[in-house]
């Protein structure tokens, strides 16, 4: 059971959301992270934020916004922070779903709710966000090219058929969350997590999400040169 679900975006039930943990890797996002957490906690009260050595007071802001904040002793990379957050969330009492969410405000809460809802209703253990299932998101030509290329490489390596390989919005049932064991500390974790989830054989689906490319997130975005680092990190271990 894999592939594209019917385009339904009914949010998850309150009961499901009460057993959901949102995981947010955090690194120097003081300007936006407070609002992101407050908005998220209106529907998903359990938020764990892994501060990856921010120097702009992000951790304190996240804590004030009501997130459980775990602090890495120094900057180790987004993959490292994501793994720490998932490891914490999946062992919390009663945890049924783990949602990974970006700290910079580019994800929409309603997408996250609909993804948990899809998992709850249709039994997908893994729901991955994709910005290319419809045409709401316009990342620009160059970024689209790089992302499509990344998706092609990931698909070739994992045997999955994803339309978007580097989307940080994911909803995992707790059994799928237990499969994740990221070794890639930096950005290559996005391919690694897909590979690990794909190998698990658990039912998965992609879900069309909208990414808000604000001036803020654009300014902080990945440089195209970094895709070289991702490939090297994946190949040399």
């Amino acid at each position: 059971m894999t592939g594209m679900p019917e385009q339904s975006s009914t949010p998850a039930s309150v009961e499901a959301l009460a057993t959901t943990w949102a995981v947010i890797p955090l690194y120097n996002e003081a300007a936006v992270v407070g609002d992101v957490i407050r908005e998220l906690r209106e529907s998903i009260p359990n938020v764990v934020c892994v501060d990856d050595g921010s120097r702009d007071g992000s951790a304190e802001i996240a804590e004030a916004a009501g997130a459980r904040v775990l602090r890495h002793p120094h900057n180790m990379g987004q993959g490292a922070a994501l793994q720490t957050g998932i490891a914490y969330a999946r062992t919390q009492p009663g945890c049924q779903y783990v949602v990974t969410f970006d700290a910079d405000g580019q994800h929409r809460v309603e997408d996250a709710l609909a993804m948990v809802g899809l998992s709850e209703r249709d039994g997908y253990a893994i729901v991955l966000g994709s910005r290319f299932l419809d045409d709401r998101t316009d990342p620009g030509f160059r970024k689209r090219l790089v992302l499509k290329l990344a998706a092609a490489v990931t698909n070739a390596a994992t045997g999955m058929t994803l339309t978007d390989a580097h989307n940080g919005l994911r909803a995992l049932r707790v059994d799928a969350a237990h499969v994740v064991n990221l070794q890639q500390d930096r950005m290559a974790h996005a391919s690694e997590i897909v590979a690990q989830l794909g190998r698990s054989g658990l039912p998965w689906a992609e879900f069309p999400v909208h990414i808000r490319y604000t001036d803020y997130s654009k300014a902080k975005g990945q440089s195209m040169l970094n895709s070289i680092n991702i490939v090297v990190d994946l190949v040399i271990r």
């Binding site: 602090r71 890495h72 002793p73 180790m76 990379g77 490292a80 914490y88 500390d185 190949v235 040399i236």
Partner: protein, 124 residues
């Protein structure tokens, strides 16, 4: 000059080592054997410098110094690759260690705040 072939093969092997090998006890043993052989070879050519030139002529390089230069390059490259792999391994170990620390601390503080909450309930 079939020594060119030897050099190319050596570089290809180093590339394969960079991409394919997983560190372990066998690699440590191989590294140590290579180190030992290099030391013995070093001592040998220091005592009998003529040997190096003879060897160089044998493989078609010409001068002993040239042979030494090529071998030093291969050795240097091997060292760089080795250190790179080692630094990747150390970074992983460091991340793992830091994560365990963070998670242990989190479990402890969660437990403590749960206990404190229970105490507050009981307090008059």
């Amino acid at each position: 000059m079939w020594f060119q072939l030897v050099l190319v093969v050596a570089l290809v092997l180093i590339g394969a080592y960079l991409l394919l090998s997983k560190p372990g006890a066998r690699h440590l043993a191989v590294r140590r054997v290579i180190m030992l052989i290099s030391l013995l070879a070093g001592v040998t050519v220091i005592i009998w410098p003529g040997l190096l030139t003879q060897l160089a002529r044998l493989v078609g390089v010409g001068r002993g110094v040239d042979l030494l230069f090529y071998l030093a390059l291969v050795a240097g490259l091997l060292y760089v690759v080795n250190e790179y792999k080692r630094s990747v391994m150390l970074a992983r170990a460091n991340t793992h260690l830091a994560r365990e620390l963070v998670l242990t601390e989190a479990r402890l503080t969660d437990r403590i705040s749960a206990l404190e909450a229970r105490l507050d309930e009981r307090a008059p």
